[in-house]
C-alpha cells in the first residue's frame, strides 16, 4: 500500500519534470510588443515573430511578440504594461494612448496616412462598383470586422451614418461583427452576409493570394482616405530601457528594409508618425460614440 502510493508520487514527479520543460519561463527585462490580430489569425506567430527577431538585433535586448485574441486584448495588455509597444489600428491606437498618458505613436506604414476601407458585396445582391456611396445596401445583411477596428468598423460606420442619418442597426436587416478582415471576406464571399466592409490592404493581399472569387464577391465602394495603423510605444520605456530608447525603436522601424517582414504587415515601409496625425480618428470615434466625450 505504502509503496503503491510512493510509486504514484514518483510517477508524478517524472510528469512534473516533463511538464516543466513545456512552459516558457518569463525573462526579466524583456521588451514585449503585440499586434492587433486583424487577419489570418492562425498564423500570427509567423507574421510577427520575424519582426521580433529583427528588433532584438537592432535594439540589443530580447524582444518578444505576445499574441492576443482580439483588438480589445491588445489595448488591454498595452494599458497593463504587459507589452510596451504595439502595432495598433487607428482606433485601437487612439484608445491605447488615451488610456496610457505619455504614450506616443512613433511610426506608421507608408500607406497609412491615406488608408481606405472597401465595401464588398456578394454578387447575388446585384450591387456593383460605383464612385458614390452605395445607397442600395439599405435593408441588406451587413458585417463589420472587429468591433474595435478602424477600417472594418469605425470609418465604415461613419460613412453609413452620414449617408443614411441612421445607425447601422436601423439601416441593415442584420448587423454582425466578424472579428477580422479575412473573416469578413469569407463571410461575404460565402453569402453568410450580403455586404461587408474591410481593410483595402487585406483585400488586395487576398486577391493576390487567389483567395477572392470575382464571380462571388466584388468591391462596390471605396471610402475616402483616412489615417490608420501605427506603432505606439509607452512613454515610460525611456526610464526602463535607457534614455533615447523611444528614438531607437522608431529608427529601427523606419530603417526596416526586409521585404519578408514588411509583407507580413503588409506595408511598403514604415515612416515616422506622431500623435496629432490621428486626431481625425479620435474625432470620428467620438462622433460615432465609441469613445466617450
Amino acid at each position: 500500500m505504502c509503496f503503491a502510493v510512493l510509486s504514484n508520487y514518483m510517477r508524478l514527479l517524472v510528469l512534473f519534470l516533463l511538464f516543466n520543460s513545456m512552459l516558457v519561463l518569463p525573462v526579466l527585462g524583456e521588451f514585449k510588443f503585440t499586434a492587433i490580430p486583424d487577419q489570418d489569425t492562425a498564423r500570427l506567430q509567423q507574421r510577427f515573430g520575424k519582426i521580433a527577431d529583427y528588433l532584438s538585433g537592432k535594439l540589443g535586448i530580447e524582444v518578444k511578440y505576445i499574441p492576443v485574441k482580439d483588438y480589445a486584448g491588445s489595448v488591454q495588455s498595452f494599458k497593463n504594461n504587459e507589452v510596451q509597444l504595439a502595432w495598433f489600428g487607428g482606433l485601437s491606437g487612439v484608445k491605447a494612448r488615451l488610456a496610457v498618458p505619455g504614450s506616443v505613436a512613433i511610426a506608421q506604414g507608408a500607406e497609412d496616412p491615406y488608408f481606405m476601407s472597401y465595401f464588398i458585396a456578394n454578387v447575388s445582391t446585384g450591387l456593383s462598383f460605383a464612385e458614390e456611396f452605395p445607397k442600395g445596401i439599405k435593408g441588406r445583411t451587413f458585417t463589420f470586422g472587429s468591433k474595435g477596428s478602424t477600417s472594418g468598423r469605425l470609418m465604415p460606420e461613419l460613412f453609413i451614418r452620414q449617408s443614411f442619418s441612421q445607425t447601422p442597426r436601423d439601416v441593415f436587416s442584420r448587423v454582425g461583427f466578424s472579428g477580422d478582415h479575412s473573416k469578413t471576406l469569407a463571410l461575404v464571399q460565402s453569402g453568410s452576409y450580403e455586404v461587408g466592409a474591410m481593410n483595402f490592404k487585406v483585400w488586395k493581399k487576398e486577391v493576390d493570394a487567389g483567395r477572392v472569387d470575382p464571380a462571388k464577391v466584388q468591391v462596390i465602394w471605396r471610402t475616402p482616405a483616412y489615417p490608420d495603423y501605427n506603432w505606439t510605444i509607452r512613454g515610460d520605456v525611456d526610464e526602463t530601457y535607457g534614455e533615447g530608447f523611444i528614438k531607437k525603436v522608431q529608427q529601427a522601424l523606419i530603417d526596416l528594409q526586409d521585404r519578408a517582414i514588411l509583407d507580413a504587415f503588409p506595408r511598403a515601409r514604415f515612416i515616422p508618425a506622431d500623435n496629432s496625425m490621428f486626431k481625425p480618428v479620435l474625432d470620428t470615434a467620438i462622433e460615432v460614440g465609441i469613445i466617450r466625450n
Binding site: Y9, L12, F19, K69, N81, K147, K183, S190
Partner: protein, 496 residues
C-alpha cells in the same frame, strides 16, 4: 405540475414568435460537409504543438476548483446568515467569462485571471451545495456527541464522515465543469484550448478543431483513472507550482481598476478633458449615465436574454423527455442504450459555447445557434439523469407492453417530478449561458458587455454585469419558489 408545465410552454411559445430564429447562411450544408470531413480527418499533430494550452486548461481548472472549494467551505459554515447567502448567490450569478472580463483589467491576460474567473463563481456554488448537503445529512451521529464539544470537533466527527461521499462526488463533477469553463476561457484570449479552437473555427480549419476536441473528450473521459482523492493534493501542489511561475501582478493595475477605471464615466470626464485625471463627485450626471445605459442597452439585453432563456428552458425539457427513453432499459435494448448513453455523454461534455460556435458557423447569427447549443448541452445532462432514474424503476409484472403506454402511464409519472425539479434547477444556468452567448453576436446581455469591454469602457461593462447578476438572482429565487410550491426536489425519491 401540469398547469405549471403548460404555463411555461405557453411562455416559450410566445418567445419563439418574438425571437429571431432564421438561418441566414446560404449554404449551411456545404459547411456542414466540411465539418464532418474534419471530424474524420483529425490533424493530430496540432495536439503536440498546443500541449501547453492543454496543460493550462487542466491547471486553471485544478487551481480554480481548489480555491473554490476552500472558499466555498469557509462560506458554507456561515450559510445560515442572509448576507452570506446573498453574497454567494451574487458571485455565482456571474458567468466565468464575465468574471474573466472583470479580472482582465485588474491582473492582465494571464493565469491568475483564468484561475480567479473559475474560483470565484465556483466558491458561490460550492458554498450553496455543501450547505445543502450538510443540512440534509443524517443528524443521528451528531446527536451522539456531547453537547459541549467544540464546533470544529463536532464537524469532523459528527458531520464530515456522513457527508464525505456526497461532497466528494459533487466536487468531482464540478471539476469536470471547471475543465469546460477553463477551455472556453480561451475563446476570450486566455491561453487554454479555446484559444486555438476559436482560431481554427474562424479560419475553417476543422481537422485541427476535431483534433483539439478529441483531446478534450479524452481528458474528461480519463478523469476517473487519474483523479484519485489521495492524489489530489499532489496535483494541486503541482498545478500551483506551475502556475506560480507565470504570475505577474502589478499593484498599480489593481489600484487603477478599483480607484479609477471602475468609476462611472461622468466622475472621470472632467479629469480626462483637462488632462489631470482627477475624479469629481457628480451625482446627477451619474444617475443620467445609469439611465442612459439602462435605456440604450441593458433593457434590450435583458429582454433578449429572457426570451432566449424561456425558449431553451422548455426546449431542453421537451428534448430530454423525448430522448431519455432511448437510453432507458425499459424502452430499448442494451446496444441502443449503450449508444445513446455515449452520445449523451459526448454532447454533455461539449461546452455549450463550442456548440454555439459550430451552429453559428452553420446557420449564421440569429438566436437559433444559441437555442440549440444551450438546449443540447442541458438536454443531454437532463436526459442522462432521467434515463438513470427511470432505470431504477421496477416495472410491475402486468405493466403495459406497448412502449408508448409504458412511457406515459408507468415511467413518466414516476420520474416527472424530479425531472421538473432538475429542469428548474438549471434555469439559472441556462440564463447565464443565454447572456454569455451574446458575445457571439445575438443581442443578449453578453453582446453589450463584450462591446463595452471592446470599447475599453470598463465602468459600463461592470454596470451591465451587475444588471446581469441581479437578473440571474431573480430567476434563481423564482425557480426556488416554483420548486417549493410544486413540492418537487432534485433528490431522488422514486417509490416503485
Amino acid at each position: 405540475m401540469l398547469k405549471t408545465s403548460l404555463t411555461f410552454v405557453g411562455i416559450a411559445f410566445i418567445a419563439v414568435v418574438l425571437a429571431d430564429l432564421e438561418v441566414s447562411t446560404q449554404h449551411p450544408w456545404l459547411e456542414m460537409g466540411r465539418m464532418v470531413e474534419g471530424v474524420f480527418t483529425p490533424e493530430l499533430s496540432v495536439i503536440w504543438e498546443f500541449k501547453a494550452s492543454l496543460l493550462n486548461t487542466a491547471i486553471f481548472a485544478l487551481c480554480g476548483t481548489f480555491l473554490g472549494v476552500i472558499l466555498g467551505i469557509g462560506l458554507a459554515f456561515f450559510f445560515q446568515f442572509l448576507p452570506v447567502r446573498l453574497f454567494c448567490a451574487f458571485i455565482r450569478a456571474i458567468h466565468e467569462i464575465f468574471w474573466a472580463f472583470i479580472f482582465l483589467p485588474i491582473v492582465g491576460l494571464n493565469s491568475i485571471c483564468g484561475v480567479l474567473a473559475i474560483a470565484i463563481p465556483y466558491a458561490g456554488i460550492f458554498a450553496k451545495v455543501y450547505a445543502e448537503i450538510i443540512q440534509e445529512s443524517d443528524q443521528q451521529p451528531l446527536e451522539g456527541i456531547p453537547k459541549d464539544t467544540h464546533r470544529l470537533s463536532r464537524f469532523f466527527y459528527g458531520v464530515l464522515p456522513v457527508i464525505y461521499a456526497d461532497t466528494k462526488h459533487y466536487t468531482a463533477y464540478r471539476f469536470e465543469c471547471a475543465l469546460r469553463s477553463s477551455a472556453i476561457l480561451g475563446f476570450i484570449g486566455l491561453p487554454t484550448l479555446g484559444y486555438h479552437l476559436e482560431t481554427f473555427f474562424k479560419e475553417g480549419m476543422y481537422s485541427e478543431v476535431a483534433a483539439l476536441l478529441i483531446v478534450f473528450y479524452f481528458l474528461i473521459a480519463s478523469l476517473k483513472y487519474w483523479l484519485k482523492p489521495r492524489l489530489v493534493p499532489v496535483y494541486v501542489v503541482l498545478a500551483f507550482a506551475l502556475l506560480s511561475r507565470e504570475i505577474s501582478l502589478s499593484w498599480e493595475n489593481v489600484a487603477r481598476f478599483f480607484t479609477y477605471e471602475i468609476l462611472p464615466w461622468p466622475m472621470r470626464r472632467q479629469g480626462i478633458h483637462d488632462g489631470t485625471y482627477t475624479v469629481s463627485f457628480v451625482l446627477i450626471p451619474v444617475l443620467e449615465w445609469v439611465k442612459a445605459i439602462w435605456l440604450d442597452e441593458a433593457w434590450e439585453g435583458i429582454w433578449k436574454t429572457i426570451v432566449l432563456t424561456q425558449i431553451v428552458l422548455v426546449g431542453t425539457g421537451l428534448f430530454s423527455l423525448f430522448v431519455f427513453p432511448f437510453a432507458c432499459r425499459h424502452f430499448a435494448g442494451k446496444v441502443t442504450n449503450r449508444i445513446w448513453h455515449y452520445l449523451l455523454i459526448i454532447v454533455r461534455t461539449t461546452p455549450e459555447y463550442i456548440l454555439a460556435y459550430i451552429f453559428l458557423t452553420l446557420w449564421g447569427p440569429s438566436m437559433l445557434p444559441a437555442v440549440w447549443a444551450i438546449l443540447l448541452h442541458n438536454g443531454a445532462i437532463l436526459a442522462f439523469l432521467s434515463s438513470n432514474n427511470a432505470d431504477l424503476v421496477q416495472l410491475r409484472i402486468d405493466a403495459p407492453f406497448k412502449r408508448i403506454d409504458r412511457y406515459f402511464y408507468e415511467i413518466l409519472p414516476r420520474v416527472y417530478g424530479q425531472f421538473l425539479a432538475f429542469l428548474f434547477y438549471r434555469w439559472e444556468v441556462m440564463m447565464r449561458e443565454s447572456a454569455i452567448l451574446g458575445i457571439l453576436g445575438i443581442y443578449t446581455l453578453g453582446f453589450y458587455i463584450h462591446s463595452a469591454i471592446s470599447d475599453d469602457q470598463i465602468d459600463k461593462a461592470m454596470l451591465l454585469i451587475l444588471f446581469t447578476a441581479i437578473l440571474n438572482m431573480g430567476i434563481d429565487s423564482i425557480s426556488q419558489v416554483v420548486r417549493r410550491r410544486l413540492k418537487i426536489s432534485t433528490k431522488l425519491s422514486i417509490a416503485s
